[in-house]
């Protein structure tokens, strides 16, 4: 026990080692695909900490949910019933349309669309890196999640799975600065790419020629071209188009339909039949959000 003689060259060497290690980790985490396994292991190792950090909020939510007045519950119930009625009515129409669509697709000899497995996930309230937009959800490898899986909520696409742990995973949100998603203008089918800017309610469409027909208020849906996101889910609305003739491309600002800062429940999709897990605990949450089928 002699703190006076502790320091010496050893801390410099350790710092050098730390520097080398950090460099190696940063490089491999950023560039190497295979490093994902190590990341997944670490992600599952820290999950107790995350559940622990989430506990106070869960407790508060629980008490808040239990301390509701009867009147509130009744009004809520009523609202849900009305909603359900409306949605059921839409569903009836949807089924007929889907049959018709399938029939037409058969006539055209194109493959019939299949409904895919979905699962509800809850967001663990833990904080993330201030430089990126991510959330942690309470599902993981055990539920059959895979990296790059599309995540939606009841307004539209929210993002994709970034890292999978055993029973928790990280979702990279649409608005993250490193995220881009292939889109299609719903009105005329022009394909564009929507990129996150790091701001919660602003994304941008990149590399749009000045002559492109894109207007304020246009709805952008997923085009399905990247192979990650299924086709036809709404993503964003165009908020501003500035076609400055001095620039090469038009500047198009879009606003994601999902309220990124108010997410609570998310829906995971399995569009790719190869990745489907066993459908044992499949959820029952077919909200009004279904494929807006169009060829």
């Amino acid at each position: 026990m002699n703190p006076i003689f502790v320091e010496g060259f050893s801390s410099h060497r350790r710092m050098f080692l730390a520097l080398v290690l950090s460099g190696a980790f940063m490089y491999s985490d950023h560039k190497l695909e295979s490093f994902e396994v190590a990341r997944a292991v670490m992600q599952s190792m820290v999950s107790p900490l995350q559940y622990l950090a989430n506990a106070p909020k869960q407790f508060l939510d629980y008490t808040a949910e239990n301390l509701v007045s009867r009147k509130q519950l009744m009004t809520e119930n009523q609202r849900f019933q009305v909603n359900e009625l409306k949605l059921k009515e839409k569903l009836l129409q949807m089924e007929i349309l889907q049959q018709e669509n399938d029939r037409l697709r058969k006539l055209l000899a194109s493959p019939v669309r299949q409904d895919y497995k979905k699962m509800v996930a809850e967001i663990l309230a833990v904080d993330s890196d201030p430089y990126s937009h991510q959330v942690v959800i309470n599902r993981g490898l055990e539920d059959g999640l895979y990296e790059g899986q599309p995540v939606v909520d009841d307004h539209g696409v929210a993002g994709q799975i970034l890292h999978v742990g055993v029973n928790n995973s990280r979702v990279l949100l649409l608005t993250d600065i490193s995220h881009a998603i292939p889109l299609r203008i719903h009105r005329n089918g022009i394909r564009v790419i929507g990129k996150g800017t790091g701001s919660v309610n602003r994304m941008e469409v990149i590399h749009v020629p000045l002559s492109t027909d894109i207007q304020e208020g246009d709805l952008l849906v997923t085009s399905g071209l990247g192979g990650k996101f299924p086709e036809g889910y709404p993503v964003a609305k165009v908020t501003q188009v500035s076609a400055n003739n001095f620039r090469e491309f038009a500047e198009v600002a879009i606003k994601p339909l999902v309220k990124i800062d108010r997410l609570r429940y998310l829906l995971l999709l399995w569009p790719d039949p190869d990745n489907q897990p066993d459908a044992n605990d499949a959820s029952d949450s077919d909200s009004g959000e279904q494929q807006k089928g169009q060829g």
């Binding site: 520097l19 460099g23 993330s128």
Partner: protein, 160 residues
């Protein structure tokens, strides 16, 4: 000299600080979150530099990276760097008064956040905003809490 040094206490406080750095806060307060992990590590590396050094700080930073979902190694490097400076100057810093120490801690936090920002800027090209530096103020002003609390813990459990 006792065989048992109660080193466990150090790790428990570090774990608690990690939980505090991911615990959800209201959005308005989120930017003001002090850098708990850094404060706790700074205290222990100042008080017991033989128990906790650059590599421990690096490991804690790596955990923080996984918890926060940043590129692995960013927080690890920044934390190791700060603790490196701390370990090399602990005798000087120990003799400062509490408010002088707060200033030093403010500097350390600024170094930490700037390092993280620079690496993020290098990797992703993020833009700077002053909100990234708010934790510097809150961390510096909360140093006395951490200092007194951890000193009490250290004496209570006879950690050495």
């Amino acid at each position: 000299m006792k065989a048992k040094n109660n080193t466990k206490v150090i790790y428990i406080t570090i774990l608690i600080s990690l939980i505090f750095s991911i615990i959800p806060l209201p959005i308005a307060l989120d930017a003001y979150r002090p850098n708990w992990a850094l404060l706790v590590l700074c205290y222990w590396s100042m008080a017991l530099p033989n128990r906790l050094g650059v590599l421990t700080a690096w490991l804690v930073g790596l955990l923080l990276d996984v918890l926060l979902g940043s590129v692995l190694g960013i927080n690890a490097f920044a934390l190791a760097m700060v603790i490196y400076v701390m370990v090399n100057n602990y005798q000087t810093i120990r003799n400062f008064s509490l408010w002088q120490q707060s200033l030093i801690i403010g500097l350390f936090t600024a170094l930490y956040h700037l390092l993280v920002f620079w690496i993020q800027r290098f990797v992703f090209g993020v833009d700077f905003s002053m909100t990234y530096l708010i934790p510097v103020v809150t961390s510096a002003s909360l140093w006395w809490v951490i200092f007194l609390l951890l000193r009490k813990i250290r004496r209570q459990f006879k950690v050495r």
